[in-house]
Symmetry: D4
């Protein structure tokens, strides 16, 4: 008695089957307004390459996050995808350019703010995703909470662009999103970063503090910059029209 494996047939419109191991959701953009982002971390490199090859073959683009330097190197040098792939934000993200780029209409500006310098690489992931989908982004990094003057000066500058949403990145005690949300009109999404050591380190304290915020912020998981960016894109109502 052996194994019974009957492959499902590919659905040309909303789903791209890649071998037995992957089913890329092509319909997500039209259904939810945001594309599927491929998380490289945890996937077998062969699976990741297989998915990208299949997408490229059909002319589709893709956003890949949390690329290890090793896999990035392989994508950069060995693998022929047939479509150009660019790498952003200290090399953790890769953008496979679609054959026919979508035109995008941005509604409003997203503000991306960090408490410290160590939060910047995580925040850059959000900036990359937002800009890849045509959103306007304005940033203020290392505005701190241990001295309020850095913050108030930065907020004055950002408010001039009238952002529709704030993505506020902070590690350690994670107080910044609370402070920002007490001062601005736009909704604030807190993004805890894996910065800090000891009890509550690696973003645990920041996440929990943001959940306990006395200001009405919403939160994503530790270092979940991509989720925050996709949420912001939906909030901005940014839409892509394929030719």
């Amino acid at each position: 008695v052996g194994r019974v494996r009957r492959p499902g047939k590919p659905s040309s419109r909303t789903q791209l089957d890649v071998g037995e191991f992957a089913r890329y959701d092509l319909g997500r953009v039209s259904r939810t307004g945001v594309p599927e982002v491929i998380l490289a971390e945890g996937k077998h490199p062969d699976h990741l390459v297989g998915i990208l090859r299949a997408l490229a073959k059909q002319g589709h683009g893709a956003i890949v996050s949390r690329l290890s330097p090793k896999v990035r190197g392989r994508l950069d040098r060995e693998v022929k995808l047939g479509l150009p792939m660019t790498f952003h934000a200290h090399g953790r993200m890769g953008l496979l350019e679609p054959r026919r780029p979508a035109r995008r209409t941005s509604h409003g500006v997203a503000a991306v703010v960090t408490a410290g310098t160590a939060d910047v690489p995580i925040a850059e992931e959000a900036v990359t995703v937002l800009e890849s989908q045509g959103a306007a982004v304005i940033t203020a990094f290392d505005v701190g909470v241990a001295g309020l003057h850095r913050l108030t000066r930065a907020l004055r500058r950002l408010e001039r662009s009238q952002p529709s949403v704030y993505l506020v990145f902070a590690g350690r005690e994670g107080a910044l999103p609370t402070i920002v949300a007490g001062l601005v009109r736009a909704p604030v999404v807190g993004v805890p970063t894996s910065v800090g050591y000891g009890r509550g380190g690696k973003g645990e304290a920041a996440l929990t503090a943001m959940l306990q915020s006395c200001a009405p912020i919403a939160v994503v998981n530790i270092d979940a910059a991509v989720s925050a960016a996709l949420f912001a894109l939906q909030l901005l109502g940014s839409r892509s029209q394929t030719d």
Copy 2:
């Protein structure tokens, strides 16, 4: 040598000092677009009554959440506030009516969805806050995840109103916001509820699962319906103009 206590003088415009123990933030509405909500839980009843008396005396309204039946009874029967106070949502919320109600302009509709029947009282807190600020609300309760037909039928109905934001309440395994976010265009805010027993009960599993969602949702704390509603209000851009 005694204690040195110098009272700060009341700031007539943005802050209402109540005795030594409270400073109500009158400027929050104009600064952030949403009012301060008074959390009754944890406050000494004398302090709560004192704050409401001071607000009523100035003609200001207020939203009070997590009122215990005991304190509600006292507010309902004994205390003369001078302004009418109404109680909503199974008695956990109280609305102090301002002397001159604000006119509000709602932009878009908020959809409020629950996974089960036990989540309904928590969700009603959000409905009360949203409606008190003039927002349009559409609801679908007990749409489940253990059989998808209840959910898809409900979503079809809700989508006809083109909501600008979904507040999705779920306890236990907390899967509903993820499922909803895979099917709609509007941003989804997950609200874990303190439903469920054993490991991960009281909303712990729901919260953690929402943080791990493979769909781009944002999250508030367990039972934090008020925070979710205020976040949604900012997102809706609902504004209040006082006469």
Copy 3:
């Protein structure tokens, strides 16, 4: 005034044995500068009454914390101690007046600050201990973090008294001690309070956030107002000389 250090000699003087169940440390004041505070919570009421009776019989005073209303009532009405006992701070503390009150010299001022109204009862425990030992106290309650104006105004007022130490009480996200420590010269001790619900509630988030603070604060346990006050007393160098 210089510091006097008299080495504690053993011990007919430094220890009071009460039955088999208690040994009160009479020498702690001369050894460490601060008295033993009797935690009522957890002790059998008979044990508590026994200790107070034995102290009163010898003419010693005592500070009792976390008195339940039931035990307080018993001390207030039934028990004859022979020395007057007064109750402070919403009835959670009791002070047994010694036969010969100590003269105390206060060095500097302690500032006691709270983020919210719900933190006030906990903070009052610290105020009671500090004042019972002759320290000068200045307070600012409900100064918040969700709008910074309340805080900056309060700090300006407090700084005029040039406090030697700040005890900053906050529940929920516990951000206030960090903000204060970024703005003042005196050392800041953070006291997390058991305010807040959901993940990180009951002071858990506040404690962890204070431990992760990017400002150099020291921390005590949740609701440990008495420990914070005794630490502040040592810091102030407050001394008691018995006649």
Copy 4:
């Protein structure tokens, strides 16, 4: 005075003593219907090799799980076992072929389903164990929860084989077993996988969510694919008769 070590004598039928350090349970198959699986992880390589040598010498087969590449290499190249050993599922499992293979009778089909691509290597461990014991397996990988169409199409296909049990693998928010269990008649065993980062990552959220499932699923530990497979084998009533 020295150490007293009296070796127990080997029990030829139900137990195979290997040095002092191991006692392989030969009777488990006849007693419980499933064989002992040797977990390589945590065992000293010398111990592992010793056990396999002893088994091979007696003509017994074995299943080895969680083989590190290093130990696999040693087994593959250096060690002469006398019986053939094959490696499966991305090299984490090894099967020592018994001298006289058992005849097996499979009762029913086991369905193995994964939520994502990253869960596939874990699920393959279960497939290997199931097939090594003669069970029929049918698979559907990467059927997702963020868009339900992938899932419903896959389930339709699987249901045509009328599986007697579903093993459903999911990381991150772990919602898939709940969804499946609401749609099929066969019992569903949830297998959380160590996929996901941040709070609740490494399978923690998935496990807890499965324990909180509102559908009647049973659960094994994170990545415990082997346990799930053995449980399924008992459930299938698959039996092995040695010649």
Copy 5:
């Protein structure tokens, strides 16, 4: 602008809408082989009564779990449902008898075993659910692990009935399911019970130990006797045919 609430129309076959707050899944039995069980705990009593009234009105039966004595009293005395309701297992479960009882065919026997006396009330919940659906049940309670003779004698007796599945209940260190699974051929489902105090108390140690079992058991959440019973029903292949 007010709230927009459009009620969905009742679906006569697979779903019973009760007010706005509940949607009972009538199709679950035919879809999954097991009925929806109504968890009373956490539901507002009015909601619970409403659901039962609606079911009784249509002639449907129901299983209600975790009934508080207070709500049970109300159901027992005040509420007229129109169909008989019986209470089982120390009063925590209620069975609403359907107008036309289903005929059920049981396949095999379920063995229900407990480690201690304190586990018995939880185990009785499973017995009630199993028997209500026509399954044959055999029990052995308080068989212990601190002396193996109690266990081996009990297992000998149980094995004579050749159970198809074992539900093994244990609190504290939760070792019993592991021991049983090493001795029997049928699949073992471990049910941790909320028995025990201190670290790992309330079933936490039992659950975690069962997840770490070196025998291939599957597990449900702490005190989740109902889930275990429904899982066993699916495993037994018990089916109900309505006349």
Copy 6:
């Protein structure tokens, strides 16, 4: 199809079957040297009374721990057991006197030490069990760690009795067993008590600190005074000979 329940026949020598719900281990004393202790907490009062009645009927004695005042009252007043039952240590323990008391030979002395006054009731449970089995006990309560003079004086007194084992009870930071173990020759068993509030309260910090002790102590669970006492009895080699 109904339930199949075949009662096992009572084993007159080593096991006492009580109804279906309990099997008292009469052989434990002769097998392990210590009796089974009946934990009242968690057991249904009817079950507890049933067990005691069955034991008394056979003339056996019993130790019952964690008796609630309510159940104690029932045992004290309503239930006729036929054998005398005495209550010890603030009423949490009950001793059913056997018809023919065992003669006991004590080998060595057990020292029972507490850090504070609040630990005394827990420690008294251990004293009661030890003395009920004929062991010699010597105590020192409230010896503290915040001033070492109380401790050193107490240890000097205890050491004169040359204890064979120390049971050291401490809550809060749980430092006392470590300090004692650095000063005495006999083995030290740490018993964390559920004393303390905030993070690490209820004995959590004490337990963890004892596990981390830099001295070679062994530990039991929080408030597990009975386990500690039974362990000490085995260590003392105290044996009971029935006439």
Copy 7:
């Protein structure tokens, strides 16, 4: 539509902007009495080097903590800063010498004490920070708690210098700060160190035990020697006057 990034202009007095990614707080010394310490861990090496280059260019000094050997090597060999940088405390700290060193006036002595030898490298971080700011430091390392003689002898020596504050470092069970605080007059700050394995290891037990201390100590996070030193500096009232 592109990204909108408007750089804020440098504030010559209180803030030094470094690229977009960092804003060094020059005003902190005059505002709070202690300098900003640059945590190297978590920062991108390019960011760290950029900050130091910018500071050196302006003639400012800096304290850098948690330098990895790799980054230290780069700072030591490759990077030309223009100002001398020295490395302390086993290479984890670096001091950039300012062009015009501040004169400092030390008030009192800080005592730095460790429980074990493994705590010494952490404690050296505090010594380095304290001495870099001109404070007088006295040390006693490996004074233990498992035998009190080491401790009492060390404290006698330290007390001769009349310290104004004790920084007490301990891992494992973290009992030392409690013991010290029971014997001295100066305030005690507990610093848990990441020493110890198993449950409560890596400093977790030490931190929690210190929070539960029955003596009035204040605590910083695990290994947070720099925070403790800055807190002590504020406590000592040490001030720096720049020429």
Copy 8:
């Protein structure tokens, strides 16, 4: 003002000062009956070598645990200690032979038992410490719990030596000490080992289950074989007389 470091003078009898960083407790053997064991893990290699050099110079022996291969190599090859050092138990322990070995009198036998093969290396640490102090040891490894026959046969063999104490090592679900304690008269010390993955892995489940044991066992921390051995030595009353 510089640092004030006054070295304490060496105490020739009970304490060996090594530089500033270590104070070896020479008096521990005569005070407590067991020697100080040097934990290599966490100590700076220079510190470890320094301590051993100082001990060897004085002719003292030492037990070193958790030696990394790297440090072991250095001790083995580079360092000249002047006294012989032998390495045991897979190289994690080192014994520095004293110039004049102590004569030891062993009282009774210690039984060392493991549940699995993976626990053997940890158990060997205990065997090494016990035998180094002259205790008689009897072992049974991999006796399992998933089939009881392995266990009962092993216990029969061990009981013939009438052990005075059992050290029972188990990872995963940690059930073995409970089972053993239900069958033997000697006290049982459970030693959880860091074996197992997923929730409760690395010994967490084993530790917690042992704390929850329904048999009266005492417990040490995860992998704390050395602590268990020292505790057993005290229990055995083994004493060393130096010539």
